[in-house]
């Protein structure tokens, strides 16, 4: 199913959670809403689910206006950060809940429900645990049960709110890959909220980067990493060194004339240059397009050497990744040339 979010705004008192947000998903897509807390990503997800309602704008499912439709009638599967399993019901009853609460004429027969539950328990690889209670399961198992419960109603759309937020690192990694496989098997359009960029980059087809109730960029993991649309996206996704620049036609002057880097389309005025740690190379001392830095620390990490260095007149230390063979001792002067960078 395709979802269109059209000019949605939402205010809570004086706080604007969503400010004219517009978004469109493709059928079968796995979309991540990524942003810091307070960026409006959860409010957007809840608005799509019908658990929250926008002050302005529309939500469309396959072209059909769902803006005023209550959550119970939207047929969406919603997974919560804290699982929200019904603690007094067994795992099997939890999964069956969405079917057993249906009106009698739409309700499947008991045997049919039982078969569906067994099938879903198989899907989440917990076939033995139908009789257990949620309190008897680990966090990862609970979240899998929550997903099975959401899938039981054969939703048109799967929405996940920080689905791995309450889990420890290793379980989180395992479940990520597993969730992506489930998504591919079911073919459902899925949207998940996360503040963890690594998670979004690893499993999403496209990433919606949000800040302050506004979408900063929508793009594939490759696009948001290599071509960030704004300074925020550039610094939020991946590591970045940020330096003040003066933009001139055809290039930018870093700091007070420390170095000048070429950029055809950079325009005029003040700004900021973003350089990723690994997008640099060593240059001959005194090169005009390289930064003269003093090494503060240097340590090998895997196949690269991480260098923390100081640039005269810049308070924040910079980090660079050079080939591990480049020995650099603390106190040594280096000339570091930005190879790839973006000027905002």
């Amino acid at each position: 199913m395709s979802i269109v979010v059209d000019n949605i705004s939402r205010r809570f008192g004086g706080f604007t959670a969503l400010d004219r947000v517009t978004l469109e998903t493709k059928p079968g897509e796995f979309l991540a809403l990524l942003g810091p807390s307070g960026s409006g990503k959860t409010t957007l997800l809840r608005t799509i689910a019908g658990l929250d309602f926008a002050d302005e704008g529309h939500v469309l499912f396959d072209g059909q206006d769902m803006t005023g439709t209550p959550a119970a009638e939207r047929r969406i599967g919603f997974v919560f950060q804290n699982y929200a399993l019904f603690r007094h019901m067994t795992v099997a009853d939890n999964i069956a809940f969405g079917l057993t609460v249906r009106a009698r004429r739409d309700r499947p027969a008991k045997a049919e429900i039982a078969a569906k539950v067994a099938e879903l328990l198989e899907l989440i690889q917990l076939p033995q645990l139908g009789d257990r209670y949620p309190a008897q399961l680990s966090g990862g198992q609970r979240q899998r049960v929550a997903l099975a419960r959401a899938l039981a109603i054969e939703p048109r759309l799967l929405l996940l709110d920080e689905p791995f937020g309450a889990l420890d690192a290793q379980v989180r990694k395992d479940l990520r890959g597993w969730l992506r496989r489930i998504h591919d098997e079911t073919g459902l359009t899925s949207i998940f909220v996360t503040h963890d960029q690594e998670e979004a980059l690893e499993i999403a087809d496209r990433i919606v980067v949000m800040r302050g109730g506004v979408i900063e960029q929508i793009g594939t993991p490759a696009e948001v990493q290599s071509a960030p649309a704004t300074a925020f996206v550039s610094s939020f996704i991946g590591e970045t060194n940020r330096l003040p620049v003066t933009r001139r036609d055809g290039g930018a002057i870093i700091g007070d004339g420390l170095a000048t880097v070429p950029d055809e389309a950079c325009g005029q005025g003040g700004g900021e240059i973003h350089i990723r740690p690994h997008d640099v190379e060593l240059a001959e001392p005194g090169a005009a397009d390289a930064l003269p830095v003093t090494v503060l620390a240097s340590r090998p990490i895997g196949r690269s050497r991480r260098i923390t260095a100081e640039l005269a007149g810049v308070a924040e230390p910079l980090t660079f990744d050079l080939p591990v063979a480049e020995e650099a001792a603390a106190g040594q002067s280096l000339s570091v040339r930005p190879v790839r960078y973006r000027i905002f």
């Binding site: 119970a72 939207r74 047929r75 919603f78 804290n82 929200a84 809940f97 609460v101």
Partner: protein
């Protein structure tokens, strides 16, 4: 027990002294009076004890007390659940006002609560003339006693449930809603099971207070023997007539009720591992 635990670094002597003081206090101010009530009731033997209880006035008082509890406890349970549901699961205008109103009966002296009803429904009260005209008696009659009891026991269930429901949050209800459940289904299958032990505890407390309420009921009752006397009022009457055995006999029934409440509460806590009042599960 490890010595690094900061709560147990006191010397064994200090620990024993503290426990001893606490224990002594409990014995002096709680256990002894309770024992005295039963001792007083049985001072002249079982037969006198039983005779006092089957006295028509005593029986009427017991019946009235049970009736009042049977009306006011369900009313306040329904109200308490509805109010805590609204307060814990929704945001609306006037929410803090509602919370303060629920607490009002705790902060107002029961005598004042009783007087409020006299002022409203009494012969000289606001609605008094109209009520007299239509032949409705509220003050010095059963309806007044029920009203006063409902007012005084208003907060018990709600106070028990609001923190519990607030702590549980809205996720369970929202999950049920997204799965297609309607409001009633959410309430019966999700909310109510989540709060059942807290609710039971609140109902027990509410019931204990409803049966034991003295001040407010005393103001509106009129103390008509056999008609508007509840058990606590009956105890007072007997006591003022120097019928100590009778007074203690009826009082021992009330005390037993308190013991049963305490017992049930302890069993609930033990059986279901409720650690904090109402923090079910």
């Amino acid at each position: 027990m490890s010595n690094s635990n900061p709560t147990t670094i006191e010397s064994p002597w200090a620990r024993r002294a503290l426990i001893g003081v606490g224990f002594l206090f409990l014995v002096l101010f709680l256990f002894l009076p309770l024992v005295m009530v039963f001792a007083g009731a049985l001072a002249k033997g079982w037969s006198v004890f039983l005779e006092t209880l089957v006295d028509p006035d005593a029986l009427a008082a017991i019946r009235l007390t049970l009736l009042v509890a049977a009306i006011s406890v369900p009313i306040n349970s329904v109200f308490g659940v509805a109010a805590s549901w609204a307060i814990a699961k929704f945001d609306f205008r006037g929410k803090s006002l509602l919370i303060s109103l629920i607490d009002l009966p705790f902060s107002v002296s029961p005598v004042v609560s009783g007087l409020i009803f006299v002022l409203l429904f009494g012969a000289q009260g606001w609605l008094g003339p109209w009520l007299t005209e239509h032949g409705v008696r509220i003050i010095f009659a059963v309806p007044g006693i029920v009203l006063a009891t409902v007012f005084v026991t208003f907060p018990f269930v709600a106070r028990e449930l609001i923190p519990l429901m607030a702590e549980q949050g809205r996720d369970d209800e929202e999950a049920a809603r997204s799965l297609g459940a309607n409001g009633w289904q959410i309430f019966w299958h999700v909310t109510l099971p989540n709060i059942r032990w807290g609710l039971l505890y609140g109902v027990l407390l509410c019931n204990a207070r409803a049966m034991g309420e003295f001040g407010a009921v005393s103001v509106v009752s009129g103390h008509i023997r056999g008609l508007t006397n509840t058990m606590p009022l009956h105890v007072e009457i007997l006591y003022n007539e120097y019928d100590f055995v009778g007074a203690f006999a009826v009082a021992s029934l009330l005390a037993s009720l308190a013991l049963v409440t305490l017992g049930v509460k302890t069993v609930l806590e033990w059986r279901f591992g409720i650690h904090r009042a109402g923090a079910a599960h």
